[in-house]
């Protein structure tokens, strides 16, 4: 029911600014109901690697029937009716895993400025920010239920963690770490930047924490648990000089006599700066591949994979497109809400004018009508704003998956580079073989043999053995990455299906619910103005 307004209220109304619209007197507060249907979207906490979503949830069936979803929506989405959770609410279609669900939750708080130790050239030193990383978990690797850890880390540490993970988990869809971007003081204050970074770090770490494989990684555990200096080095390979890096290849490839290499190192991807020679080799190989010259022994003939890759690219493009349109949609909804509100305020002013010193009864009647219009408009405006903030939360999933696509592409290129390594080594083997054969052929023509040539043949045969081993390693690595790709693609399909279905349901429910609420407000106004009938209608 409309509350009777006195002049005092109207006074307040008149001076209400856009922000103050919240305090305008409106009719009934959002109704609450007994249903506690859980949130239909928001981030899904994947508790186990084998999560299978339920096909329907108890919450939805009960709100499918009319009259309205609005009530159900408000208990789930209304931020004012929070239960004090700061954890993401569990998805309603999340099923229980056979074992008790593992969780690993991370908070990033309390940014502090610290001074760099004075080994820099800049007098007075530079500063950086550290963040308090708090972890709570029940995972056995971390000490079982009730485990809690607190450490301080800086952004450089996060970069190190990310680099190490990308080395150890080639082929996996590893969440992309936040940007290194430097803040431009023209654009943003340092405090804003630090806050944005803090939020981004929390998101990133929690994404790592729900990845079924990475959450169990030693790298992550060290990052989260070990106090003081981060016990992770910047990179696995110790050599940072070009020459040292070249050590990792069979020496004949570099034409130098050096110590025996670790074949496993050979299987690792070539890194910039340190493995320039190797990179040149592999580049040459990839060119050879492209020009269809020598047919490499291991060709990417996994058609299914190539098709999949194309589909992923297509998907990424459409996703990006939809994400953009989602942004426009959100903006349009926001504008609608704003304008509706401004319209309402204009009518509030008119109401006041017609009321003050009204000279005719028709004015008083009109003032009342205008007040009703103002009320409905302001209410609709508020509903649009709420609708929009929910819409943003839902459609944000689209943006999130654009990030996932980056991880996917990265994993695919892990596979490509592993294949390239295999192909490079294969080519080298082939050329070694032919050199040996040539030498042996030449040697057999001379009875007794050429001492130096025999020695050469022996050396080459040794190198061949090493290269063969290296190639086996590389092939094993390649197969491993292939398998990672495959299982991750499966996981992606499952999770994407879950996530997007949830997003769609949430989005649609939201729209329906708020539309109903708005319809109610407008129907009320239609009733209030029901006495006026259009001529001829």
């Amino acid at each position: 029911m409309m509350r009777q307004e006195n002049h005092g209220d109207q006074e307040a109304d008149l001076h209400a600014s856009q922000d103050d619209m919240e305090s305008l007197v409106l009719d009934e507060p959002p109704s609450s109901n007994g249903q506690s249907s859980p949130s239909a979207s928001t981030s899904v906490d994947r508790h186990s690697a084998t999560a299978t979503p339920a096909t329907s949830s108890q919450g939805f069936n009960s709100i499918l029937e009319p009259p309205s979803y609005a009530d159900a929506i408000f208990t789930s989405f209304d931020s004012s009716s929070s239960n004090g959770h700061d954890c993401p609410k569990p998805s309603s279609y999340q099923s229980e895993s056979p074992t008790r669900s593992e969780f690993l939750k991370i908070w990033v708080t309390d940014p502090q400025k610290e001074l760099e130790l004075s080994n820099s050239l800049v007098p007075g030193g530079t500063s950086y920010y550290t963040y308090l990383i708090t972890t709570r978990t029940n995972m056995p690797e971390y000490g079982g239920p009730g485990s809690e850890f607190t450490v301080r880390r800086r952004f450089k540490d996060v970069v190190t963690l990310a680099d190490r993970l990308s080395e150890s988990f080639r082929g996996f869809f590893i969440p992309i770490r936040p940007d290194k971007s430097v803040v431009d003081s023209q654009v943003m204050q340092i405090e804003q930047f630090v806050e944005l970074r803090r939020v981004a770090l929390a998101k990133y770490l929690n994404k790592l924490a729900v990845h079924p494989t990475i959450k169990k990684s030693e790298e992550l555990r060290l990052f989260l648990v070990v106090k003081g200096k981060l016990p992770l080095t910047r990179s696995v390979d110790m050599a940072s000089r070009m020459l040292d890096g070249a050590v990792r290849l069979p020496r004949q490839l570099t034409g130098e006599a050096t110590a025996v290499t670790d074949v496993n190192e050979a299987a690792q991807p070539a890194k910039g700066g340190r493995d320039l020679l190797r990179i040149f080799r592999e580049l040459k190989q990839s060119v050879v591949n492209d020009w269809g010259g020598v047919k490499p022994t291991a060709v990417e003939d996994d058609k299914e994979f190539l098709e999949r890759k194309e589909k992923v690219a297509e998907f990424e493009q459409q996703l990006s497109n939809l994400s953009q349109q989602a942004e426009s949609l959100v903006k349009a909804q926001q504008d609608m809400g704003e304008t509706m509100g401004e319209l309402g305020l204009a009518f509030v002013k008119l109401t006041k004018l017609e009321t003050e010193g009204a000279m005719f009864e028709s004015q008083t009647i009109r003032a009342n009508d205008m007040k009703n219009v103002a009320t409905a408009s302001v209410k609709a405006s508020r509903l649009y704003r709420e609708l929009n903030s929910q819409t943003v939360k839902h459609l944000d999933k689209l943006h999130e998956y654009l990030g996932v696509m980056l991880a996917v592409n990265s994993a695919f290129s892990d596979r490509s580079s592993a294949l390239l390594t295999v192909q490079t080594l294969s080519s080298e083997l082939v050329s070694l073989q032919s050199r040996i054969e040539k030498l042996e052929a030449a040697a057999s023509k001379i009875f007794g043999g050429d001492r130096s040539r025999m020695r050469k043949i022996e050396e080459l045969k040794e190198t061949l053995k090493i290269s063969e081993d290296a190639k086996s390693c590389a092939v094993r690595e390649y197969e491993r990455i292939k398998e990672n790709n495959r299982s991750e693609l499966e996981r992606l399909d499952r999770e994407r299906h879950e996530d997007f279905m949830g997003m769609l349901r949430g989005f649609v429910l939201n729209q329906a619910g708020y539309a109903e609420k708005m319809a109610n407000a407008w129907e009320k106004l239609a009733e209030e103005t029901g006495g006026y009938v259009k001529d001829g209608s």
Partner: protein, 400 residues
């Protein structure tokens, strides 16, 4: 649609048959573009149905253009001071917009309302100029129009009148003239109210217009969103793909509904508000007229006083100019009485008009608000229905 008063004039409760009851109803229809290039204009068919004895016959059809309506308004404004002459839609300055279907229809409606308001006003409907407008052939009309509103004389321009009022004010400020204004507190209140009302209404109308735009924008973005969702759906395939496709289809459907509602909003809510603003501006013109009449009356009263003093002086001195002076004095007195009568007529008419105006506007706005509410409710319900219908499909989709 803008509302008008009942088109039956005079007593409306009589149970007599329609043919014996006086009526005058007009419709402005059939806009047609004539001429070429810069010279192009729209002509309208004006159909009059009446049983007024002064009219040539029961039905008459003429062709009129916008400037003819302006002529009529000018004439009425001149002759019927004190009455709030119904407002006309603005002359459009934007070339491209001038011939859009939307604009043409809105203008046609506004012109229709304009004429009907005149036809249903108990005094204005008696106007000879109205009869001319409704019946004269095109050549006569053109002659009259050109004579009155040709390049030698500007068409009645509310702004011109305001400028006169404003210049009067600045004259006072600069000390050129002492203010000659009524000292009528209630009238002051009314003036203040009218000026405030125009400001507030203009603001409301501005936001109403923006709201129309927002509807169109939201419609467009829903269409784009829907298209993108459909593309993603095709790319996804399987159950999830279907879900996206359905979402896309629904979005596109709703986009169309939003565009439709934008149209309704423009016609049934924004236009009435605009009409209200124009009506208030018309009142401001009448206020200016009243101020003029008052000033004239005062000036004459001053002059008469001086003449009286002068006459007395002459009579005392037995001057031979007494006769002349007496004659002038009598003339001036007659003029003064005339001026007073004019002024008092305006005052009387205005007080009647203002009552009518308030009642009319409450009705007009009531209808506009009702249409607004109905339209928004209709839209919101379609949106809720559309999304609701999608839910079962989303439920039934099982994972890959």
């Amino acid at each position: 649609m803008l509302t008008t008063q009942s088109s039956i004039s005079g007593s409306s409760q009589s149970p007599r048959s329609p043919s014996s009851q006086p009526y005058l109803s007009v419709s402005v229809t059939d806009p047609v573009k004539l001429g070429n290039g810069v010279q192009a204009y729209i002509s309208y068919r004006v159909i009059t149905k009446t049983n007024f004895p002064e009219y040539q016959g029961p039905e008459k059809i003429v062709i009129r253009r916008y400037n003819d309506f302006v002529w009529l308004q000018d004439r009425l404004f001149e002759k019927y001071k004190g009455i709030f002459i119904p407002p006309l839609p603005e002359k459009s300055t934007v070339e491209k917009f001038r011939f859009s279907a939307e604009f043409i229809e809105m203008r046609r409606q506004a012109l229709d309302v304009f004429v009907n308001r005149i036809a249903s006003h108990h005094e204005l409907q008696q106007s000879e100029d109205l009869r001319t407008f409704l019946q004269a052939d095109e050549e006569t009309m053109e002659r009259l129009r050109f004579h009155e509103t040709g390049i030698f004389k500007k068409p009645a321009d509310w702004m011109q009148i305001f400028k006169d009022v404003q210049s009067k004010v600045s004259d006072v400020v600069l000390g050129k003239e002492k203010p000659v204004e009524e000292s009528n507190p209630e009238y002051e209140k009314l003036k203040h109210y009218i000026f405030e009302l125009e400001n507030h209404l203009a603001e409301a109308q501005k936001h109403a217009y923006r709201l129309v735009k927002r509807h169109r924008e939201l419609g467009q973005s829903l269409a784009d969103f829907g298209k993108a969702a459909k593309l993603l759906g095709t790319c996804e395939g399987n159950a999830l793909g279907k879900a996206f496709t359905e979402l896309g289809v629904k979005s596109e459907t709703l986009s169309i509904k939003l565009q439709k509602e934008a149209e309704q909003l423009l016609m049934n809510f924004e236009e009435p508000l605009k009409d209200y603003v124009r009506a208030v501006q018309s009142i401001k013109a009448t206020i200016a007229e009243r101020a003029n009449a008052f000033r004239q009356q005062c000036e004459l009263a001053e002059t008469i006083k001086l003449k009286e003093i002068n006459l007395d002086k002459l009579m005392l001195t037995r001057s031979d100019r007494v006769g002349e002076a007496e004659h002038e004095y009598k003339e001036l007195k007659a003029e003064g009485e005339e001026a007073t009568r004019r002024f008092e007529t305006i005052v009387r008419l205005m007080s009647e008009e203002i009552v009518r105006f308030q009642e009319q506007k409450t009705r007009d706005m009531g209808v506009a608000f009702h249409e607004f509410a109905k339209g928004q409710a209709r839209l919101a319900n379609s949106i809720a229905d559309a999304w609701r219908s999608l839910l079962p499909k989303l439920e039934s989709c099982s994972p890959v």
